[in-house]
């Protein structure tokens, strides 16, 4: 069943049209990846879903239209977005960052449980619990950003270039965790420039170029597609 569906979505920054009629679907339980080069419109797609940019077209989540609602409402309905560049709150502690992720959760016990769960995925965060977010390494910050998003127990996780600026070994760890989250039932929309690794863990993929989807299909088919190979896997 499709959990998230975009149909003919256009997005605008003032007069600039950054998305020119995009359609994509994410089904429950899938990892779907959206790949493309700089400025293709990947982040804009995620921002459109969250209500951070002005859009036209249909965006439905769980069968309901969400295209025109404010970001905080979309988030509280179960869409967690880990933005590009991590955007952790650098002057809040790790603990406070996680609490903010759980802002819509009223039950203190539940927050505690999920914090413990976050430590299982990311043991480093336990050691850094009282530390200011901004003093952590890039990899740790990315882990915190994902952990923070998980605190609301979302129905879908949107990840914007989680591998950005990280050492290969850390990227591997993060991708392992993404895969594990998915195995436990999390639906994931993964935006990446790192097309090879993204397609390896994804079920399906979309290729975006200058605001348009130019290709879509099973991840392993895209991996072996000549055009994709030439443009994104070189």
């Amino acid at each position: 069943m499709s959990l998230l569906q975009l149909q003919n979505v256009h997005a605008y920054y003032g007069a600039i049209e950054a998305l020119k009629g995009i359609s994509l679907t994410v089904n429950e339980g899938e990892i779907v990846t959206l790949i493309g080069s700089n400025g293709a419109g990947k982040s804009t797609t995620l921002k459109s879903i969250c209500g951070q940019v002005k859009t036209q077209g249909a965006i439905s989540f769980n069968g309901r239209e969400i295209g025109s609602q404010p970001p905080h409402q979309t988030a509280s309905e179960g869409i967690a977005h880990v933005p590009e560049g991590r955007r952790i709150f650098s002057r809040l502690t790790v603990k406070e960052n996680l609490e903010m992720g759980a802002f819509s959760v009223k039950d203190k016990k539940l927050i505690k449980e999920r914090t413990e769960q976050a430590f299982v995925y990311f043991p480093r965060l336990k050691e850094r619990f009282g530390q200011l977010g901004g003093t952590m390494s890039g990899g740790e910050q990315q882990m915190l950003a994902i952990a923070r998003a998980l605190m609301m127990k979302p129905r879908i996780l949107l990840l914007d270039e989680p591998s950005m600026g990280l050492a290969p070994i850390i990227v591997e760890q993060i991708f392992d965790i993404i895969q594990e989250l998915n195995r436990e039932g999390m639906t994931i929309l993964l935006v990446e420039q790192n097309a090879y690794q993204a397609l390896q863990i994804a079920h399906r993929g979309y290729v975006i170029q200058t605001g348009e989807i130019i290709m879509e299909g099973e991840a392993n088919l895209l991996l072996s597609n000549d055009q994709v190979k030439e443009a994104y896997l070189a």
Binding site: P71, A80, H81, F89, L92
Partner: protein, 344 residues
């Protein structure tokens, strides 16, 4: 020989000067801290709004002034209704504080909604002009109402606590003179400290307080955590304005007579306190306010002594500001400010 004599003379004069300064020091500290507490709480309002919206809410001084008028008129109304004689002074005090704080808090929320939010995407200068407009508007509305009701825009309230208490600071050290303290000064200090502690706990320990800091750092990302950014901004205005209005009541009780223009100079000084502490930093604003209050009272009491009567206490603001500017030249981000703004 002449040289030696001069040396001795200067030394002697210096000694006299120090002993004179010491004599008045307890009084300077008492008055300075009282005034500084008023600056500090008003400064918090500037710094909170700046922290979240990066703009100077120039109407904040007028919110303080409105608080002073609301508190004073509430008290006058109690009095004409004959309620005042029947209730203890502290009850009346709490009532007027709460009334003024609620009134100005809601007013702050309204001002943000009407005058600032529509301009949120506009350049900060435009919002600043809007704030200046709100200032004039508030001055004129208060002046109009005060004139209408009392026939003058100068309003003298009823002092609830105006006895003088002598503090025997001379018994601590005999270089000190005794200090005199209005009972209301104690209330000003106590209420200001309570408000500041309460705010500090709120900001650092509660969910909405943390959300406030999160929104101040990165509004966009905060909204992705299901934080309603507009609600947080409204809350910030409510708290900042309520603090400002409450301080207005303390001020009116302390100094007796108020007019619609008291917010201007006081607002400037509180704003300076916020900058001195590092704008955006709440604890910095508290410290900056106390610092400026003491500095101002120190200059008022001692300028004549230090300059052998060439400049009197009326130059206190000049001296205070020279010192402030000097500090800011060496530490432009303020005493507790962040040196560089981090990039996201």
């Amino acid at each position: 020989m002449l040289y030696l004599f001069c040396g001795f003379y200067i030394h002697k004069r210096g000694f006299n000067m120090i002993s004179e300064i010491l004599q008045t020091l307890p009084q300077v500290l008492v008055d300075g801290l009282t005034l500084g507490a008023v600056y500090a709480v008003v400064a918090i309002g500037y710094t909170m709004v700046y922290g979240i919206l990066e703009f100077i809410n120039f109407a904040h001084g007028e919110i303080f002034m409105t608080g002073a008028f609301v508190g004073t008129s509430t008290l006058l109304i109690f009095n004409t209704a004959g309620l005042l004689s029947g209730m203890p002074g502290w009850v009346a005090y709490i009532l007027i504080l709460v009334t003024a704080m609620l009134f100005t808090g809601l007013m702050g929320v309204g001002i943000e909604r009407v005058a600032y939010r529509p301009l949120r995407k506009a350049p900060k200068l435009i919002t600043l002009i809007s704030a200046i407009g709100v200032s004039f508007l508030l001055q004129d509305i208060v002046r109009f109402i005060a004139d209408l009701k009392t026939g003058s825009f100068l309003v003298t309230g009823i002092s609830l606590y105006n006895e003088n208490v002598k503090i025997k600071t001379s018994s601590i050290w005999d270089s000190f003179d005794d200090a005199f303290l209005k009972t209301n000064s104690i209330i000003v200090l106590a209420v200001a400290v309570l408000l500041m502690i309460g705010l500090d706990i709120f900001i650092n320990r509660t969910k909405w307080g943390v959300a406030m800091r999160a929104v101040a750092q990165d509004r966009e990302t905060a909204s992705l955590m299901s934080i309603n950014v507009n609600k947080v901004i409204a809350l910030t205005f409510f708290i900042g304005s309520a603090l400002g209005g409450g301080t207005g009541v303390l001020f009116a009780q302390q100094y007796g007579t108020i007019d619609p223009y008291i917010g201007f100079i006081l607002g400037l000084k509180a704003f300076t306190a916020a900058v001195l502490g590092g704008i955006g930093n709440v604890r910095g604003a508290m410290f900056g306010g106390l610092f400026i209050g003491v500095l101002e009272m120190f200059s008022a009491a001692n300028l004549g002594i230090i300059t052998s009567g060439n400049f009197g206490g009326e130059y206190k603001d000049v001296v205070a500001f020279i010192i402030l500017i000097t500090i800011l030249i060496f530490k432009p981000e303020g005493l507790f400010g962040r040196a560089v703004k981090e990039k996201v």
